[in-house]
């Protein structure tokens, strides 16, 4: 490992005091050292608009390290999906994929398989089934083998592939709704776990202001037809209520977690409801 040998040589040559000082500094291999501080307000770089929305596993994994959540209690049985209009199906597709990640945490192979089938049904309803056929087959196969790592990768891949297919069909805004649906169900699940056993570290996971701004921006920029859609309209009107509750990482109190839980639960229900 060149990186470590360089660092060790450097430590040996510069003596203990300097080595202790550098111990807290990042290791930088073979390049001029990057600035230790930059001015965020006047970034020396143009911003990339694309935001990669974290998969639920990124959060669930931390919760697993903080304790042993009862994922079975969080897992919600996915009923035959209600096939509403395309916007609703896109949101539902995202939330069902998020449910898949919960089923993996709960290590429930039957539910994983069921969710895999629902993903295909929803993808078919929206005209992007070709993109996920092999993913859903892999999910079902991996569920039989209880290969949880593989299933996580395939659910992430399914989400990526349907969004790519939508973008290719010039349905980028539907792809955005898939991400939003997944985020809403993932956040609902996160608040369920944190509510059960509140800790500051667990609650801090809700501090996601940039993501909320991103979703809000996307909803505000959607075409008027989508903005008038009953489900999208409700999501757009309730989402801003979450933003002030997660503004500061150390101020996500138990009461705030309850409020976020109530909002996300309601929205996930709207996404899956037949009347909406």
């Amino acid at each position: 490992m060149r990186l470590f040998s360089l660092y060790q040589k450097f430590r040996a040559a510069t003596g203990l005091v300097l080595a202790v000082t550098l111990g807290a500094a990042p290791l930088v291999a073979n390049e001029e050292a990057p600035p230790r501080k930059i001015d965020i307000a006047t970034l020396p770089a143009t911003m990339v608009d694309d935001v990669v929305v974290p998969v639920p596993t990124e959060v669930f994994g931390v919760l697993d390290k903080l304790g042993s959540p009862n994922w079975h209690a969080v897992l919600r049985k996915v009923e035959n999906p209600n096939l509403g209009d395309r916007a609703q199906v896109a949101l539902l597709l995202g939330s069902v994929i998020a449910e898949g990640f919960i089923a993996v945490e709960a290590q429930d192979p039957e539910e994983v398989k069921e969710i895999g089938r629902h993903v295909l049904t929803l993808a078919k309803a929206i005209g992007v089934s070709k993109a996920v056929i092999s993913r859903t087959s892999s999910i079902i196969e991996a569920a039989d083998q209880r290969n949880w790592t593989k299933i996580r990768v395939e659910f992430d891949g399914a989400s990526h592939d349907v969004k790519q297919a939508m973008i290719e069909l010039k349905d980028e805004q539907l792809a955005q709704l898939v991400s939003l649906g997944g985020w809403l169900r993932g956040t609902e699940a996160l608040t369920t776990v944190v509510q059960k056993n509140y800790s500051k570290d667990g609650a801090e996971l809700l501090h996601q202001p940039a993501l909320l701004d991103h979703f809000q921006r996307q909803l505000d920029n959607m075409d008027s037809r989508l903005k008038r859609n009953r489900v999208v309209k409700q999501v757009r009107s309730r989402l801003p209520e979450i933003r002030p509750l997660i503004e500061k990482p150390d101020a996500v109190t138990s009461e705030r977690v309850d409020k976020i839980h109530a909002i996300t639960t309601e929205l996930v229900k709207v996404i899956g409801s037949k009347d909406s």
């Binding site: 390049e31 990057p34 911003m47 790592t149 996971l205």
Partner: protein
């Protein structure tokens, strides 16, 4: 007709034939950089960022990270002899990465163990390149 054919031939002689590479080629190098870390238990995300940049110009990406995870960001380029870097800053603008490297052809990487949950800035830069614009792709993994 003869004139047009001559013109096309002349153009072919002047303009070098170039294979139009895509971001996918840059991504394949990023994923190659990721592969040893997958063996260490990192899950690589399917989503990634990509684009092209002139030399010395930087791109900033805002990304949500969670305290309790460890992340690697892998940057790839398909341009021969290009030198690229990626660094991670917290929301206050402090360099937040635990380590980084850029000493392998076509790739660079940075690792972070976030001290807090929140937004972080990933700064991508083309340090050196023979191309006017250099394609890049940035993938990430966590554990």
């Amino acid at each position: 007709m003869k004139t047009i054919a001559c013109l096309v031939l002349a153009l072919l002689c002047v303009v070098p034939l170039r294979v139009h590479a895509t971001i996918d080629d840059a991504l394949s190098f990023a994923l190659e950089a990721a592969s040893p870390y997958v063996k260490e238990g990192f899950t690589v995300r399917e989503d990634y960022w990509g684009g092209d940049l002139p030399v010395k110009q930087k791109k900033a990406i805002v990304h949500q990270l969670f305290k309790g995870n460890e992340y690697w960001f892998w940057l790839g380029t398909d341009t021969e002899n290009a030198k690229v870097t990626v660094h991670i800053y917290d929301s206050e603008g402090n360099l937040a990465e635990a380590e980084s490297w850029s000493d392998k052809p076509h790739m660079a990487a940075a690792r972070i163990v976030p001290k807090a949950t929140g937004s972080y800035y990933l700064i991508v830069e083309i340090k050196r390149s023979s191309e006017e614009r250099t394609r890049w792709a940035l993938a990430y993994g966590f554990r």
